[in-house]
Symmetry: D2
Subunit: 139 residues, 4 copies
């Protein structure tokens, strides 16, 4: 398995990703096997009815899973991910909490919950899973 | 089942979605049971290595599936979707082609292929599936 | 939402399913929103290398999810399910623990862990998710 | 990539799997990148309402995908699979047709359609996807 990525390294990865910078994704916590993201709502994340677009919901889940995997496996690439849209994703802020279910040399299994925060209350709006593959030290 | 959405209606739905406007998603084709999207590459869609972010890959797949479903079921919401990242998504343009696998009163099953276009050549970079639910005439 | 199914009703459902009787699935626990199954290993559950066949792994996950959903929604049918095969499924006994992530009138989201028991120790061998739809009182 | 498996080798793999022997799965066709299975209905495959159990539906999909993958990658193990239950799976016979979407050294992406045959007519009852990993020559 590759070198573990620290919180500082994850934040550097996060800044290297143009999409993450555009969205304003912040890494708020990371430990070996888990990571947490936070994103402030902006209108341009919306679908036709003004909820967060399912694509953005998935992007947050996939990104949080990637950082959770990176804490155990360094640089990773998503192979497969899936998203359950439980409720309309409406909030002032969104928090994604991901964890590694099982690490591995060629496959890292992760899972994530996405919460919308409104008036200080968290509500679970989506869950998801990502299967990632480590890319080696050279990438 | 709801009223079918025409290409003109799909384009109106597309313009109502702030995320789609930000990304610059265009609907290039729609028939009963299928839809095609096109997106010109921009740097802000990138992940750390400069490929299209898996979240954007999924957003295109989910969006194309939603439009394919809308041709048979009107307004829909994604319930679940999954994304297979087959190859690094690198191209000047991306084309998502989605189709309805099975329509239904409460569940519409769809599938999609995502192609990257580079130097006039299409390459399959991702596949995905979306399960959607019609939201009724009022939405 | 339909009437909740009690443990006794779940056991009756379980006996109505010929596949469950063939496999020897037992429902060991059920509360509102969760259910637990147990299955003793038999050689005919095996794939080529003698591990539990991924199809049986999925069958246990899907079945446990269905019973968890039934505790909140009565009779249900699986719409979609997915299975993560984390490790070779080898054991004397298998325990599947499923829970409802979110109930709903047309969609019930559930998740499940599958454990292999060997020499009294439980090991997580697979995880999965099932999306189910209630079928109404008449079924 | 490993050695390709021929139809004769696939049939030998099929006979090595106790579950496949119990079910009576037959491999009716295999080419590089695709495989077809056939299964005659038996009552013990049923769920509570007498349809084919979703677990059996998934087992056929996963098995067909595994054989399709084996035509390009030799011995494989399922890492992840998903199943869409489109219609009640009712028939005298079931045919699963799987194909490789993309082969790879550590990940083989496959997809499958499952048809129920009744009175000589095929009806699509389920679709699914399996992600597999080659296990090397030693297994």
């Amino acid at each position: 398995m590759n070198t573990l990525a620290t919180l500082a390294q994850l934040r550097a990865f996060n800044q290297q990703a143009a999409f993450n910078r555009w969205a304003g994704i912040e890494i708020t916590r990371a430990e070996t096997g888990s990571a947490e993201l936070s994103l402030a709502w902006r209108a341009e994340f919306g679908q036709y009815a003004g909820f967060m677009h399912a694509g953005m919901v998935g992007a947050l889940i996939d990104t949080a899973c990637g950082f959770a995997a990176a804490t155990m496996a360094g640089r990773v690439l998503a192979v497969h991910y899936s998203v359950n849209c439980l409720r309309p994703a409406v909030g002032e802020r969104f928090i994604a909490r991901a964890r590694v279910i099982k690490p591995g040399k060629t496959q890292v299994f992760t899972a994530c919950e996405l919460y919308a925060v409104q008036n200080g209350e968290e509500k679970l709006v989506a869950t998801g899973e990502t299967l990632l593959t480590p890319v080696g030290d050279g990438v």
